[in-house]
Amino acid sequence: MMRLALSALLLRTTALLMIVFVAFLSSAEVGDPVHQLVSQHASQSEREQLHHKLGLDQPVHERFTAYIVRIVNGDLGHSLKTGEPVSAMLRRALPVSLDLCIAATCLALLLALPLGVLATTSGTGPTYLPGAILAATASFPVFVLAILAMAVFSTGLGILPPSGTGRMDTIAGWTTGLLSKSGLAALALPALVAAIPLSALFAGVLRMELETIQKKFYITAAHARGLPRRYILRNHALANAWPALIPVITIQAANLMAFAIVTETTFQRPGLGWLIFKAMENADGPVLVGAILLAGLTFWLFGLLADLLLLLADPRLRVANGRPRGTEVP
């Protein structure tokens, strides 16, 4: 058990290192930050001094080693653009992303459950609709949805703001906009826009899983016993379909947390994805690498969360030496 945990840890740390290295290489590729840092009247020797000062004239592997040493010591460096510590910028961005992640994931699930269930039981004619909605929403690009949503709710009806975070409150160290009216209002459109394609994905997975399960003997047996359809759906089918959804949900939630670049830049929410976008635009290497490192950590944590949730959802996994036990007949 210990060895298993250790090897898992090693694997994930290696993965993180690889992520940081790739981020490092890409930060060297986004361009030259110096032009944006000096006056248009600055001389070439001033520009070169700055290059040297920023260590941009060092080979990538040396910069990488120095960086690793620094992060091990808890120093993520400073933004080339503002001089702010990267850690402070990440701390500010994290709660903004977390709000979007929570709201959009919950909303996506709320949409996905009825949609997935209805799509499974639907056949032809009007009952075919949920499947059609599924197919349509899955294929909308987020920025099109965003523009549409703004057109309806912001510029059309004028009831929801198209940008910003609204008021953020801090309670017991947790900063969130979920507790204020303006925070919720600002979150509504980005969460909706991020949730729609996600709900299609969740519903799709759910539908596939439900369709597989419905062909199982225990479902047939339950029907034979004369149990009500709704009871079977809830207690037999849905209960067994859940575990398949968990890894999908957690990966997508991590994705929302770290890389909601389009949603965050479109709605001007200064979260992690927005930070990554800005860092690329400004060729701000330390911020880019720091943000990607945090994104890597997010996936790492959400992976862990998925494992835990699976344990909770699927009793078979809790059995030591795990021979599956239960009602399933091969």
Binding site: S39, Q44, H78, G83
Partner: protein, 535 residues
């Protein structure tokens, strides 16, 4: 059913909150963002423009960019190398401390320290002398008749305040840590900063003790960056903000259709132009490896004749550009009327290119930023189509600005055969065009650093040397015109247009746009509220 109910409640909860509207607050959304507040760190239009609401220089510029008294009530050249500034009395900084000659000398000295991008605005040989509490002199070794042209953005800080906050030295844009004080500001201007979150949101409030009569009626200003063009537009249309800078050119129709908003425009000082590499002996990014057609004046002129700026204005800029015949805006050069563009004329262009021996054409790559100027990439693509008609096959290589500038500047040895650049003369004067854009340079950038094509005529450098010390403005303008004439006749650099500044403005808000694109709150007015309006 439970899910449905929960969802409906969730959605209803969201929809119940309208965006708040505050009457005496002006809300501005900009594409650019405000980072450090140290007035000497960055020499960048957006930052110094916004800081100009909070801080002041010895001079100011009015909305038509005429130089007017600022913290100095008057100035004179006592001798050609000795400037005297008479300072305004009874001015106080936002923290209450009085403004004196010591603050001026401290600020001018500070602006020349390492880390300051503002030091290019002060002659290197200048010395400062305190004559009395409200008089300062600047002593030069050689005359500089336009020394004060860009002093409107050379802001004066309080010496005592700076000492108290550890701000004696300019904050380095790239220092390892931003001093907390680099996010503070203390000026004498019409507004003061209440809160500042770099890149996210800055709140200003009116300075009730300002020495000048305020022409505005604004109590508070909230400045938020919104980068995404459609969101910026939506923010204006939905009433979330009152002013957007800039209004995205592809959203103009939408703004025109909205009763709630309108478009305001002004011609910007920035000129957009094309550099052709006439420095190298071969065409580095093209199909001619043994010769360089851009060294031939006839080829350069053929390109000039083949570019239809009117079409670019109509189809790409949607009417919002001003075709340019010079590399400097006509607002900044008194003799601009003497110049006309070489006309758009394909026949002449074809004849010239045939005479030069390139009747069969050639191929070249044009470097272009895609996020720096208004429709930059589209302009390059249009130029490519236009030059195809005279047999020059242009491949457009459009990249984000950080990569573009890395490639085309001295940093990479001017690694480009043809490129698009824009320039606003920070000094508001034509000499800068010669010393930065059109004078000769070597491959390392000694000389005119931003001459990205390496065009060179030594006569221009000779003229620039004379212009630098000429104190008679009539003679000076004549010399500038002589230099511009050479660039024009040789098509050394090909000007295209000045782009327009476009703002989206809420129906009832009044604004005046400065051509240098600096955002000044005191040039804006909120709608007057009637006496019975609720507070």
């Amino acid at each position: 059913m439970r899910f449905k109910k929960a969802f409906l409640m969730f959605a209803a909860g969201f929809l119940a909150f309208p965006a708040p509207a505050i009457a005496d607050t002006l809300r501005i959304a900009t594409r650019g963002d405000l980072n450090l507040l140290d007035p000497h760190t960055l020499n960048e239009t957006f930052t110094i423009g916004i800081l100009g609401n909070v801080m002041e220089g010895l001079t100011r510029r009015d909305k038509n960019l005429r130089i007017i008294p600022g913290l100095a009530t008057s100035w004179q050249l006592v001798t050609p190398t000795r400037w005297r500034f008479n300072l305004r009395k009874d001015v106080r900084f936002h923290d209450g401390s009085p403004f004196t000659a010591d603050d001026v000398i401290f600020s001018l000295t500070r602006a020349r320290r390492p880390g300051s991008q503002m030091r290019v605005r002060i002659p290197p040989d200048a010395e400062f002398a305190r004559i009395d509490e409200h008089t300062v002199e600047v002593l030069l070794e050689r005359p500089d008749p336009i020394m004060h042209y860009d002093w409107d953005n050379l802001y004066i800080m309080s010496k005592a305040w700076a000492a108290r906050h550890g701000m004696n030295e300019p904050h380095l844009a790239t220092a390892n840590a931003a001093a907390p004080s680099a996010l503070l500001a203390n000026g004498t201007g019409p507004f003061r900063i209440v809160t500042h979150r770099p890149g996210e949101r800055t709140v200003f409030e009116r300075n009730p003790d300002w020495w000048d009569a305020a022409g505005h009626n604004i109590a508070r200003v909230v400045l938020t960056p919104i980068q995404a063009p459609s969101t910026r537009t939506a923010a204006l249309v939905s009433g979330q903000v009152d002013v957007i800078v800039p209004a995205p050119i592809d959203q103009l129709e939408r703004l025109r259709r909205t009763p709630r908003a309108r478009i305001e425009h002004a011609t910007e000082l920035r000129t957009i132009f094309i550099n052709l590499d006439s420095f190298r002996d071969n065409l580095k990014y093209g199909n001619l490896k043994d010769k360089n057609p851009f060294k031939d004046i006839r080829v350069r002129k053929a390109i000039y004749h083949a570019i239809d700026v009117a079409a670019i204005r109509k189809y790409i800029m949607r009417g919002f550009s001003q075709p340019a015949s010079l590399l400097i805006s006509e607002k900044l050069f008194a003799l601009a009327h003497e110049f006309d563009r070489h006309p758009f004329d394909l026949e002449t262009a074809k004849r010239l290119i045939g005479d030069a021996g390139y009747a069969n054409g050639f191929r070249v790559t044009m470097d272009c930023p895609n996020d720096r100027y208004v429709n930059d990439e589209a302009i390059c693509t249009a130029v490519s189509h236009m030059l195809a008609k005279i047999g020059i096959h242009v491949d457009v290589r459009a990249v984000p600005k950080a990569r573009f500038f890395q490639r085309v500047t001295a940093t990479s040895g001017y690694d480009s055969s043809m490129n698009l650049l824009g320039w606003t003369p920070g000094t508001m004067d034509g000499l800068e065009i010669l010393t930065y854009l059109a004078g000769c340079r070597d491959e390392a950038g000694n000389g005119a650093l931003f001459n990205l094509g390496g065009y060179c005529n030594p006569e221009i450098d000779r003229l620039a040397g004379r212009i630098r010390v000429e104190t008679d403005m009539g003679t000076r303008n004549r010399l500038l015109a002589d230099a511009f004439r050479i660039i024009h006749d040789e098509a050394g650099i090909i000007p295209l247009h000045q782009q327009m500044i476009l703002w989206g403005v809420s129906r009832d808000v009044r604004v005046a746009i400065r051509a240098d694109n600096q955002i000044r709150f005191d040039l804006m007015r909120l709608p007057e509220r009637s006496a019975d309006a609720e507070h």
